[in-house]
């Protein structure tokens, strides 16, 4: 009896950079946008964007689209004369106008843009002049000016965020009495994630500080008409970041450099954990918190983990198995969600990461995905949304699900592929900023959202499968 062996090709995980030079439908905004996002996370802070007015006005609109809230960000309103003679006078004027009109103001990150970096304005020198002027005008106030260099022609809003968090910590952190607190750098997440993270800390009995604390980016309408939409991270929090018992960076490219700085400058031990999307990554986070603080993981979290697993097990091999998924956006989110998808037996076949950071190639999560993926996976770095659209149009990838932010919505709509909105910005679905993606609960709720999205799609677009989601 002869036995014919078919050679089975080993699955390939292929990571490469986008082939085109230009961009069609960018996945990410430019650096100053990210710096502004870090700035609004601080209490009594108004970032001052040194550039044309659009660099701040549109970013404010973007935040309003995503969070359905208004955030205060100022501009130096750069014009032609500054392009010729330099724009530092406009920083000086902007700082003084802000200080005079906003008596509560304590921090002004001065955020550069492409134009002011090309002109070559001396930001540090100007800040020195401003500090002297502030001391003269307001001897009783401490207003901290923080230089943030974010030329738009480098990186993306992801690196701009990282740069700003680092600059804020660098400028403000100072050695003092140990606080026993834990620094947490969650990266570019939503208020819902911050609230969940706080709940985990409290369940573990850990006193932590979150950089940046964006819980109030989801703020109420109150009978007294007060407006509480602002960051909760204080000047003192930033100063005391140097005196913490440790730091946990939850996003390699979004805030981790600040944790690294605190370790180098103030010997604050730090752990870089995988972004806590999915069960295993959340396990790693909680164990890291436990390692740094000595606090045990409580029964309540074991139970929450179990409930999540119980819910996910209902869905995984009946509905999710072998479903092909494309994920795009921030690297930390995309890699984390790819790992999460694999826990659910889905196949993240196409990952698109939207900027030219050369460190992505060496990301250990790519190695991990290579070792575990039992299917072909393409990872496109420096990708744009055309990379996704083109592959769908050319049928080089057949997708069951797209996960990404709202800027890619038309691809899913036109191709009639179910889409779950994740990341930033998500302006075409209600309330997503409130829903956590991290942690056990985030994993469970995201899995259920995916399931319900697929079910609705089945019911409205398919002939036979609609009956399957009764189980």
């Amino acid at each position: 009896m002869s036995c014919e062996m078919t050679e089975v090709r080993a699955p390939e995980v292929n990571a490469h950079v986008k082939e085109r030079a230009g961009t069609i439908n960018p996945m990410l905004d430019c650096q100053p946008a990210g710096a502004q996002f870090a700035g609004i996370g601080i209490q009594d802070c108004i970032p001052l964007v040194h550039g044309g007015q659009g660099c701040c006005m549109f970013v404010r609109l973007l935040f309003a689209q995503h969070f359905k809230e208004n955030f205060d960000i100022a501009s130096t309103s750069l014009h032609e004369d500054s392009a010729v003679f330099g724009g530092t006078k406009r920083i000086e004027e902007g700082v003084m106008v802000l200080a005079k009109r906003y008596p509560q103001l304590r921090v002004i990150p001065v955020i550069t843009t492409c134009s002011t970096e090309v002109i070559g304005d001396d930001i540090e020198g100007t800040i020195n002049l401003c500090n002297q002027a502030l001391k003269r005008e307001f001897p009783e106030r401490d207003i901290y000016l923080v230089p943030v260099h974010t030329p738009s022609f480098k990186g993306s809003h992801v690196s701009g965020y990282d740069e700003a968090v680092k600059a804020l910590v660098k400028t403000l952190a100072k050695k003092g009495e140990p606080t026993g607190k834990l620094n947490l750098f969650p990266g570019w997440v939503n208020p819902g994630d911050v609230i969940l993270l706080k709940s985990y800390l409290s369940q573990m009995g850990v006193d932590g500080t979150i950089f940046m604390d964006t819980e109030d980016f989801d703020s109420p309408m109150l009978p007294d008409k007060s407006i509480n939409t602002h960051g909760r991270t204080t000047v003192e929090d930033l100063q005391n970041s140097a005196n913490a018992c440790g730091s946990i960076a939850m996003a390699r490219y979004e805030g981790a450099s600040a944790a690294k700085h605190l370790e180098n400058a103030f010997s604050v031990p730090q752990i870089l954990t995988a972004s806590p999307y999915g069960i295993r990554n959340t396990d790693r986070l909680l164990q890291s918190i436990s390692d740094l603080t000595g606090q045990p993981i409580p029964d309540s979290l074991v139970k929450e983990r179990g409930i999540a697993l119980d819910a996910m097990a209902d869905l995984a091999h009946m509905f999710f198995a072998n479903k092909k998924v494309a994920i795009y956006g921030h690297a930390d989110l995309v890699f984390g969600l790819a790992q999460f998808c694999m826990e659910l037996e889905m196949e993240p076949a196409l990952l698109l990461i939207g900027d030219d950071n050369t460190r992505y190639k060496k990301d250990p999560r790519i190695k991990e995905l290579k070792e575990t993926a039992a299917f072909d996976m393409e990872i496109v770095l420096n990708a744009d949304l055309w990379d996704l659209e083109k592959r769908i149009k050319d049928k080089t990838v057949e997708l069951d699900l797209i996960m990404g932010h709202s800027k890619g919505r038309y691809i899913a709509i036109d191709a009639n592929i179910p889409m779950v909105r994740v990341g930033f910005p998500t302006f075409d679905r209600a309330g997503l900023y409130r829903k956590p993606l991290i942690g056990y609960r985030g994993a469970m709720e995201l899995a259920e959202t995916i399931a319900n999205t697929l079910f609705a799609h089945m019911e409205y677009t398919k002939n036979r499968e609609w009956i399957l989601n009764t189980w």
Binding site: A21, T23, L28, F58, Q65, I73, S77, H79, V118
Partner: protein
Amino acid sequence: MPMILLDCDKDIPERQRHIYLKAPGESTKDFLPIANVATIPGTLSERGCAFCGAKLVIGGVVKDAIQMIHGPVGCAYDTWHTKRYPSDNGHVPLKYVWSTDMKESHIVFGGEKRLEQSINEAFDAMPHMKRMFLYTTCPTALIGDDVKAVSKKVMQERPDVDIFTVECPGFSGVSQSKGHHVLNIGWVDQKVGSVEPEIKSPYTINFIGDYNIQGDTQLLQTYWDRLGIQVIAHFTGNANYDELRSMHRAKLSVVNCARSAGYIANELKKRYGIPRLDIDTWGFNYMAEGIRKVCAFFGIEERGEALIAEEYAKWKPKLDWYKERLKGKKMAIWTGGPRLWHWTKSVEDDMGIEVVAMSSKFGHEEDFEKVVARGREGTYYIDDANELEFFEILENIKPDIIFTGPRVGELVKKLHIPYINGHAYHNGPYMGFQGFVNMARDIYNATHSPLLGLAATDIRRTAKAKLALKEVA
């Protein structure tokens, strides 16, 4: 009443010249806000940049053109998914934006090669698109890339494509207004006269300064069709690139938004002798008046009257239903500029609403001449208002409804004041007869929302009151 110095402006007293409170008997000869001057840094103004005035407002609306933005990725990202102008070719302007994604090496060594490559890639990626708007941005203007030379080279190599260059970096001018101007003049200089239209009617117009917000253009087009008037070009709502090249063949330029597009109407008059007729298209009285003027120009008055009668019969009773319920409501308008003078009297005449405060981001003094002439006494007229001024004015006037952008809308929600999207509408279109009923409906729904009353209720007080009642019993 002189110009007003608000409390929040005591440290920037120059703002007094920008804020006017109209008193009885005053005319624009006496007082007029200073406008179109540079914003004070750090004031939290609402203004955008000149690039956005060119790309987001006008050029980006053109439905069959690649929008190539030569600069870092943010300028493209930020002027995409922020407006509501549909198009009848699958909403291309909403779906796509193109960027050369400039990096540091291009800043150092020049970005022309990068631009050429990106243009070719864009045409290759979507071979059915043969037209392009090409914009410079702050850094590419600063390093002096010769975008005209690059576009010329590509057009020589690809004879079937046409490229329009807009050199309008974000730092030029004081607001988006500069970008409107640069694009208007550039289009007349570079493109008008290069395509001959097919003339199908003795009555031909350009319809200028309408961007098809939620279908405005498409609604008004049904009127022109019924009147037998051929629109040679819409500048730029739902427009084709090539129809805009043939604007020189219209007999009349009908202008709605004089601020963003009056320039091109003036140039068409100067260069091609096409008369300019300004009309208002928001409001029943205004729309009817506009149709009468256009029809009078062509001597087809009876067609106009028939259309107006038909539309009035259909929509006026609906409008009046709302008018009865909106009478005396106080409204603030916090938008770009022209909508102040388009709306202040039309909402008063057609809906009985009183406009009590208006701020313009990028209007010029001639816009304020119009709005102060049309507006009420006791109303604030503000140029380039900033956030603290906004709070103070709101406290003074206590409006029932605010027409503004979504971000400011989120802010005033916390103050229990409803907003309507004054740029992109809530549920438009708002132009024309049907459109104005839509606008009245949206105002009615917003001002009658039960949620606002609930937001003002303090349940703690209610509980206390209940307790007190119980004790009395």
